[in-house]
């Protein structure tokens, strides 16, 4: 087997997995708190767009990244308000936000950049070439971009946050048994908002990666990654490390798709690979993956 091809494949997989991972970990926080977040797709899109917009106007990619995070949080805020405060059906709220994101980004794409398919080109994040590390194959990829390195840090930090910190304990309690948490003085509403907004920040960051990788915004550029991230979250059993692992797998599927382009197989079949993979993987987990007990159920406080 050709080592170089394998290593390139791994490196490419890692790069591709970044937006999936960020969105999936974000989704984990939201759902651990008990709020289903289908809006990850729309947050990725909005994050990418705000990133491009901010970078375009300021010329500074770091401002773009910050804008992406803020854009993601703002989008997630809508979901939080509708789902937590208004206690509406969370799945539908998430879908509506995805439709909204699609509509708003297309609208603004036309109005600001005058195009229905893509924005102007923007400057990306700096590519780091750290002296010693730049010659080690896979490691080199990880440190080549601040967002990739950042993702690795986020994976580890999230695992700690969820299972070893006060915030994590309270978040989990609120997703499993909100009445019990409330009876001990934990604010169910507050924690759920925190979980959802955190998912917005992370998925927004994922959107920043998409924008930076492509140096522009293209219509519908999230292409279902947000939904696949949800599948990864389920496969990863609602914990950050597991989700990250599952995302590598889905990233590999997309990477494979890219490798096969241009060969004799029609593009449409190659395009199907990540989506088919998701269905098959999910079906293979019969009953083994159990979500937090109160996931998706709006919390009705007893009449005080």
């Amino acid at each position: 087997m050709d080592w170089m091809i394998a290593l390139t494949f791994i490196s490419q997989t890692i790069r591709i997995s970044v937006p999936y991972t960020l969105a999936a970990i974000g989704g984990t926080f939201s759902e651990r708190g008990g709020v289903v977040n289908i809006a990850l797709e729309g947050i990725l899109l909005n994050g990418a767009f705000t990133c491009v917009l901010a970078t375009y106007y300021t010329g500074n990619p770091w401002v773009g990244v910050l804008a992406a995070v803020l854009g993601g949080v703002a989008t997630a805020l809508i979901h939080a308000i509708v789902s937590v405060t208004f206690k509406a059906e969370q799945i539908v709220s998430g879908l509506a936000i995805n439709i909204l994101a699609m509509g708003v980004t297309r609208f603004l794409l036309k109005v600001i950049f005058g195009s229905s398919s893509n924005s102007d080109r923007i400057v990306g994040l700096p590519e780091w070439k750290i002296p010693l590390l730049k010659d080690i194959p896979v490691l080199e990829t990880i440190v080549s971009s601040p967002l990739i390195l950042g993702t690795v840090v986020i994976i580890v930090a999230s695992q700690f946050l969820l299972f070893k910190s006060v915030f994590g304990l309270r978040l989990r309690s609120v997703g499993e048994h909100p009445e019990a948490a409330e009876s001990l003085g934990v604010s169910v509403t507050g924690m759920r908002y925190a979980g959802v907004l955190l998912s917005g920040a992370l998925a927004g960051l994922g959107g920043a990666w998409l924008a930076m990788d492509q140096h522009s915004f293209t219509d519908g550029m999230s292409s279902g990654r947000g939904y696949i991230a949800l599948a990864a979250m389920i496969v990863g059993k609602w914990n950050p490390l597991g989700a990250a692992g599952a995302c590598l797998m889905f990233g590999a599927a997309e990477s494979l798709q890219m490798q096969l382009q241009g060969r004799n197989v029609p593009t449409q079949f190659i395009q199907m690979i990540p989506y088919l993979a998701t269905i098959i993987v999910l079906a293979g987990l019969i009953g083994r993956s159990v979500p937090p007990a109160a996931d998706g159920v709006p919390y009705e406080k007893e009449k005080a």
């Binding site: 799945i91 936000i97 029609p266 449409q268 395009q271």
Partner: protein
């Protein structure tokens, strides 16, 4: 009774009002006058018969997808896959239409309609089975299947059944083509609204009868409201899930009757720009009731065509934004309104 009707209307009205208000903000933000823009929209849609015909044309597929999503909701399922189901169904209609072109009209027409239903049903039974057998949530599966359906039909129309230099298939046999309304009512001249509209309305009535007057509909609704009690009452929930998703898919597949048989007379790649997703908004606004769905479809049809009318001034994507706002307000408002109504009722009983 009147109270129930009143309740059913209030929230959708608030939702529409909110959406129009939000739309006004967007319009103003790009420097146009909302009053002027909405005026053009109103005149273009309901101000003349041509516009009305266009509205009815846009509404027809939305009735099908709206019913599809509504039926699934009634059974407690989220059919996000109407988009994929209508792609497969529409392609099936075209395929039967040009492959079996030797058959006489009175056989071919029903056959094509059946093909649409079966194509959509096939794409609906897959997630239904996956849920019943493996317990995997239909939301992700249907979304994945949407992408797969678009890719699959894309492949078929690009590599197999294509007409060179185009992105569509050959034409279907003439006897399978459904006439436009303008052939009976010249006022609609120029607009592509066709007889499939009546099929849509008929199907809406059929869905109503099915859900509320048959024992199968009883079981579906029971399952949607409380699957545990349904199981207790002897209702097979697993088979119910499969049945509901299949029927839901079949309804979405009927879009092909309008698009292929009544409009273009061939299958064209990328013909649906989110009809399946709009079906979700239609179903929600219509409160998952066939009558509501028809009315909501008319409204969204008007917005959809209206978007085209004002496209030179305001990007037509505004309609998507309005659609999303309608959904958000409906679901947020339903809960609030439901609690309000319940407490008012309790007070009146006491």
């Amino acid at each position: 009774m009147l109270q129930k009707l009143g309740g059913a209307i209030v929230v959708p009205l608030i939702a529409i009002a909110t959406a129009l208000l939000a739309g006004a903000v967007f319009i103003a933000a790009i420097g146009q006058s909302p009053v002027v823009v909405y005026g053009i929209l109103l005149r273009g849609t309901f101000g003349n018969f041509y516009g009305l015909g266009q509205v009815l044309f846009k509404a027809t597929p939305l009735i099908f997808t709206g019913l599809s999503v509504a039926l699934a909701f009634k059974a407690g399922l989220f059919n996000i896959g109407a988009e994929g189901q209508l792609y497969i169904g529409t392609f099936a209609v075209a395929w039967v239409g040009f492959t079996l072109s030797g058959l006489p009209g009175f056989i071919l027409v029903p056959l094509c309609i059946l093909a649409g239903a079966l194509g959509g049903a096939l794409w609906g039974i897959i997630p239904g089975y996956l849920k019943a057998r493996f317990g995997t949530h239909e939301v992700i599966n249907t979304i994945m299947l949407n992408f797969i359906a678009i890719a699959l039909t894309g492949y078929l129309v690009t590599y197999v059944y294509f007409v060179p230099e185009t992105v569509h298939t050959q034409r279907i046999a003439t006897q399978a083509q459904i006439p436009r309304l303008e052939e009976f009512w010249p006022v609609f001249r120029g607009s592509p609204v066709n007889l499939s509209l009546f099929l849509a309305l008929g199907v809406a009535v059929a869905v109503y009868l099915f859900l509320w007057k048959t024992k199968f509909g009883f079981e579906l609704r029971a399952m949607g409201l409380n699957p545990w009690a349904a199981e207790y009452g002897g209702i097979g929930v697993s088979s119910g899930v499969i049945t509901a998703m299949t029927l839901s898919g079949a309804l979405a597949g009927l879009v092909g009757v309008d698009f292929v048989m009544g409009y273009k007379h061939y299958y064209e790649g990328g013909f649906s720009s989110g009809l399946g997703f709009m079906g979700i908004a239609v179903a929600l606004l219509g409160r998952n009731h066939p009558l509501g769905v028809v009315l909501a479809a008319l409204l969204f049809g008007a917005l959809s065509y209206g978007g085209l009318v004002i496209n030179s001034i305001v990007p037509k994507e505004l309609v998507d934004i309005l659609q999303a706002i309608v959904i958000l307000v409906v679901i947020a408002g339903t809960n609030v309104f439901g609690k309000l109504a319940l407490s008012l009722k309790k007070r009146s009983l006491g």
